[in-house]
Amino acid sequence: MSPADALSQPALWPLSAIVFLPAIVAAVVALPVIPRAREELIRWITLATTAVVFLLSLWMAWPTLFGAPGPAQFTIGEAGMQLVVSKPWIPAFNIEYLLGVDGISMPLVVLTTFLSLLACAASWPITKHVKAYHVLFLLLETGMLGVFVSLDFFLFYVFWEVMLLPMYFLIGIWGGPRREYAAIKFFLYTLLGSVLMLLAILMLYFTSDLRMLSPEQLESAHVVSPAVEAAARADAVAAIKTAAEPIHTFNLLALAELGQLPNSPFAAAQVWGVSLEVLAFLLLLIGFVIKVPVVPVHTWLPDAHVEAPTPISMILAGVLLKLGGYGIIRICYPVCPGGGLTLAWLVCGLGVVSMVYGAFAALAQTDFKRMVAYSSVSHMGYVMLGLGVWSAVAGNEFRWDAWGQGVNGAMFQMLAHGFSSAGMFFMVGVLYDRVHHRNLNEFGGIFNRMPVYAALAVAIFFAGLGLPGLCGFIGEVLVTLSAWNYSRTLAAISAFTVILTAGYILWAIQRVYLGAEYKGPHGEALTPITRRELAIATPLVFLAILFGVAPQLLFNYVSPSVNRQVETLAEWTRQVRPDFPASPAIETVDAGVTRALAGE
């Protein structure tokens, strides 16, 4: 590659390194050069890799952390896509190696690298086939990070699928007693969703036509790189505009621009009498909600979470579930806004149903880990509701600010749940490592035996509960507030779900940590928390408190991008549905968020 490329695309190497470093190290570790018996060496290599990747992503996301910000670092507060990397990959299909981050994906990237680091540290007790485990773990990390930074739908899909196989083996080989069943169930559910997604991708691709976009849109979508000279840009635009045949694209930004055109090709195309934007929205939504997961496609989750080893449960709950939410916010709504508008009731309904069902199911569990798994279903329901009210049409008034509030809340909930659920699974794992059972009714008195651990665990569980001052609260309250404008019933239900959440979490705390003494099996093994475990738990608890007290730290990243997307779509709604009585509130999205935060 030429030096000019490095200048115009400063993020090429840093961003590629974040994604591919784990895979490269995995390939090296897999070679026979490193003998299988050197388990400690393999563990340290993996830990070092995840640490380097974490530091790289932190360096990128927090420009002033290591001195003056450079060109390859993220600009906080900028709404648009940043650090875009664009290289041709398969010219015959206009497939590009197109990466980039914005306020929505950057925090998720850091969350992923952070949780991977912690999960790697939590993998020390794994003693079976250490080499294979760490190779698969690193491949998994590449897949997850790739999904968050890809802006090309084909590339996105490739990374989306790359995660499946490592996860299948990680659950299937290192899991609990029913691991084979859980592993194949996970694989099957996700593959079903991905096949539907692939169909939607192909339909969108063949309907898309870059010639419909204006030169400005082509540039903002990075179809034509804004970094090159004006003359070259004009040539590239002219080449697209004057093409005889439609030019199809996998570029997610360009697809979004096309989907939001007043004469969107996706709205015009029909398949079996249904417009493509509704059909594609539905197909993509099914693919993504399987990952989220929502009722009724959630049944893989309790099995996979319970059977997976602790670090993999942390990754599953902390990152993999977020991929679904990320897909919805990044792809479903911008590319098929019409589908989102038509099916708003579906998304919101699914969210509320999972919220309530997950909470009730969690109440009924006697397995500690299964309870935490169902709490994830319930918490991710808030994310769905928050994303759904995005296209809210409130009876006689169309509130733009409610959209922004809901999506900001959903994004915050995703990040907060990433910390709290990974923490909860780790806490369960710490106990399981010692007493080798997870029966809630056989615990009790852990506070006396392991006071430091119990204090940290209770803090994390309170964060999951959504106690004010901890990270779980902000997202839930924003989502519930915004839902009020969409449907008072749904808002009331989601508010009452908090009581159920409090019920199962407090009851679990009471049964596990409180009580006079531990009477269950292997009581002698209840040794105090080790330094390694402390090093994993403390950052999670610290961040759960930090983001509960100072949510602006995250909103500084998230809000500009979310608000811009919401505003664009609000504008789009006004164009396609002028009959909606709209409140002139477009400019108050920021104010709405601030008001909601101030009112907490």
Partner: protein, 542 residues
Amino acid sequence: MDLGSLVSGTINDTVRVSLPLFRVELVIAVSVVLVLLARMLPVLRWLDSGLVALGGACFATWYGWADLQTVQQTVPQAGGFREELFGGLLVFDSLTATIRLLLAAFLALYIVFTKVSGIPDREDGADFYVLVLGATLGMCLMASANHLLMVFMAVEMASVPSYALAGFLKGRKAASEAALKYAVYGAGAAGIMLYGISLLAGVLGTCHLPSMAAEMGRIVGEGKASGEIMVLSLGGLMLAVGLAFKLSAVPFHFWCPDVFEGAAAEIGAFLSVASKAAAVALAVRLVFGLGTVADGAAAGAVAAGLADVRHFMVYVVGLMAVATCTLGNLAAYGQTNMKRLLAYSTVAHAGYLMMGVAAAGALAGVDAAGAQRAVAALAFYLGTYLFMNLAAFAIVAVLRNRLRSEEIASYAGLVRTNPGIVVATTVVLVSLIGLPPLAGFVAKFLIFSSLVKAIASTAESPLMLVILIVGGINTVISLFYYLRVLKVMTFDSLPEDRVAEPAGAFSLAGGLVAALAVPVVLFGILWSGLYGFAQLAGSFAS
């Protein structure tokens, strides 16, 4: 025209035009003679017949490559490169050149594979390689047939050596039974096909595909003689039987699992890759040859008639594809023998390929660029399938040599003793499922994209949508049985009576498996180059 000028014209045409473009087949034919000579003449006894065959195959590959270069340089000109050979019996165009190169390259790789895996031994080598070379010659002809008589000859020429190959493991009851079953089935299918050809020839008065298409378009377009149309459709269906047998399409697939189980894994590899590639190429030839005429000639009633002909063919192929794919995948689910599982997997993949043929047929005459892309998708599929299935059968052969078993259950816990092979198996089987970033995904992606294209712009849109959905569901179904093999290899524990083999740092067999598995990964990530060749294959459909 007097006889003298006719003879000299024919000689001129044969020597100047046909033979130079026929050199790949000629090289293979010469190799057959050399292999036989090497055994007969005591002077040449020291020559290993495998090496002679390999030399021939490499030579053929080189010529195939050179021919493809010629085509590549001429394609940009209007109409592409098209030359009828031997008075219209064969046709040389970009599809011929690509498929022939594919077959020749496969042949070379295949001979290396058989040398490494040890079947055949030196004693039987001459017989084996003569049969393989002869069958490949027939397959090359299948890919370039332009005349129904040639279609029949080529199919038979490819089939008859295959029957003998199926029974190659002498003294094994299963192999003899498989060979007999294959031969009886094949003879039946050939008879039906010949009957169909004679029906078509009787009505149309010619067997030359382009002339047939024009005549058929006229008859169907005028729509007066409904009796003739009846006979034509019957003839077409009978012709399809012969083709379906070669493709192992449902309901003519019954020979496939038995032959694959009874014959050695090496023979399964040959039948599943080369035979499939040739049959798909022939299917494309027939669909395009009978469904389209050269540009400009089709107008009015003829064009409408040809559209009807294509419609008929697309429905036949499409429905057969749906049945083949679904049944192959469902039947594979219950298999306990690895070769039988791969046989049903081959059936299922024939189904995916026929989906692509159906899409290409639907797009032909409607959207030329789309049809070219559909054929390119098929060529890409065949190119990647070569590596995937050859690797899969190589793994079966290597494991057979180590474990003396081809049962899936005997692979239990293999990851403890042979991690390298298990990684290769994972790559190959996951690629057969069609998951990125492996070549099988790209192939499936291309087939599905030609289906989506056909949904958008053809009259067969509902059928294409059904095919697409069935294809998607089948991908999910196929997950089960491929993963089951991996599950046995990795999750299950090692049987206690298995002695851990001394882990050799590098073995020839391991190197071969790796060499076949690496392209599966490579073409999944960097597939632009291979797709370029595939596009070249598609460019014949102008």
